[in-house]
């Protein structure tokens, strides 16, 4: 290869755009594809959120609605009161605290023993 050509090029190569512009379609198509992927991947989370605000009648409605017609915020206090919510939460918290403390302590000591 001609050394002159190599020497002449670095300006464009070093431009810190990485290799983005070399890809066909450019930035917009990447943005759109990523947006579609992200929407598809987060759809279940949106479904959980929207369902948590629906009334019982709307949950079983056919066809299903993407956005609740009326926001029923009372689902949240109801879910806390109809089951022993805080009892279960306390169990989980106790489990988490003891498991974390135990894991950190034993791993600390074990790593010293292995080193």
């Amino acid at each position: 290869m001609n050394t002159e050509a190599v020497a002449a090029r670095p300006k464009t190569i070093r431009g810190n755009t990485r290799y983005r512009l070399a890809y066909p379609g450019g930035e917009l198509s990447i943005q759109v594809t990523l947006l579609i992927l992200a929407v598809v991947f987060t759809l279940p989370f949106w479904w959980m959120l929207s369902s948590s605000l629906k009334s019982d009648a709307e949950i079983f409605q056919i066809p299903p609605t993407l956005v609740p017609h009326t926001l029923q915020f009372s689902n949240y206090p109801e879910s806390v009161t109809t089951i022993n919510f805080f009892g279960y939460l306390l169990n989980t918290l106790r489990y988490t605290v003891f498991a974390t403390i135990g894991a950190v302590l034993s791993n600390l000591v074990i790593s010293y023993g292995f080193s």
Binding site: Y19, R20, A38, P44, W47, F60, Q61, P63, P64, G113
Partner: protein, 299 residues
């Protein structure tokens, strides 16, 4: 060698070291080594949980699985099909997603979060949500399809599409592999792209001759972990279908669970577990062998 003669201090530090790792040793012995040995022993007996003095039956469990258990071969082929579809689908999507997430576009952190979010969701919660989303009548997907005039498939309710539905849910949750591919992409040295550009390589040539070859270590790792995870998968299918409809989604783990905890045939289930161990071991060895001259480690 020095093994025999330890000085007093060495001996003391050894015993301290052993003392310090004893929580791990005890845990490993009690919860890993003992169950492994016990399941190997039980696989040659007719242990059924109730009778604590099981009879030695030799290879009867193993023979029975291949000759008399109609569902065993069904579960095995289901699992292999599931693993095959999952590996192909997840690998293609994950590499594609990692490529896209490697560009510096606006809102990148949001996109990365969106694709990784399923990994952090508890499997039980996401499986229950997917059951609902995939409901043929009241589900979100068929609802959206109906809005544009398409009658959606029956997803988990139909024997033709049930296994595929579970594969799709698993692909949705395979974001960890995206992360690993992304790390691999970040690790490709820029000077190779520059060299390729000087040589007149276009975008596709760079992709095929620089990016993808240098991504092969990550591919191997993801293939192996994905394969093992797919062959052992249990939670998702257990929550979503439990093998229905008509055993179309009866995966190996589900069948093993049924044999062990529904039929109480621990011996048979242990034999199943050891067969799966051998299968996974052989497939892993095969993957490493096949990859030997294809994976690029040198930079």
């Amino acid at each position: 060698m020095a093994r025999r003669r330890l000085t007093r201090q060495q001996r003391r530090s050894l015993s301290w070291g052993l003392l310090f790792i004893s929580p791990w040793i005890i845990g490993f012995m009690a919860f890993t080594v003992y169950p492994v040995v016990a399941s190997f022993f039980f696989s040659f007996t007719n242990f059924n949980v109730i009778n604590f003095d099981p009879d030695w039956v030799g290879f009867r469990n193993y023979v029975q699985l291949f000759t008399r258990d109609r569902l065993f071969l069904k579960a095995l082929t289901n699992t292999l099909r599931y693993a095959g579809m999952l590996i192909v689908g997840a690998t293609l999507l994950d590499i594609f997603a990692a490529f896209l997430l490697n560009f510096k576009v606006k809102g990148l952190s949001l996109y990365r979060t969106a694709l990784f979010l399923p990994v952090m969701t508890p499997a039980v919660a996401s499986s229950l949500t997917w059951v609902w989303i995939l409901n043929p009548k009241r589900g979100l997907i068929n609802g959206l399809l109906a809005r544009v005039g398409v009658e959606g498939p029956y997803w988990l309710a139909s024997p033709e599409t049930a296994l595929l539905s579970i594969v799709l849910v698993s692909i949705w949750g395979s974001g960890r592999a995206i992360l690993i591919y992304l790390v691999g992409l970040k690790d490709v040295p820029q000077h190779l792209y520059e060299a390729a550009k000087i040589d007149g390589a276009g975008a596709w040539a760079k992709m095929w001759n620089v990016t993808l070859p240098l991504l092969t270590p990550q591919m191997l790792f993801n293939l192996v972990t994905l394969m093992i995870g797919a062959l052992q998968s249990f939670v998702g299918p257990f929550i979503m279908t439990r093998g229905s409809p008509n055993n179309a989604t009866l995966l190996y783990g589900l069948h093993l669970y049924n044999r062990a905890f529904t039929d109480m045939r621990m011996g048979l289930a242990s034999a199943m577990a050891w067969i799966m161990f051998v299968i996974i071991f052989l497939l892993t060895v095969a993957l490493f062998r096949l990859s030997k001259n294809r994976v690029v480690y040198e930079r």
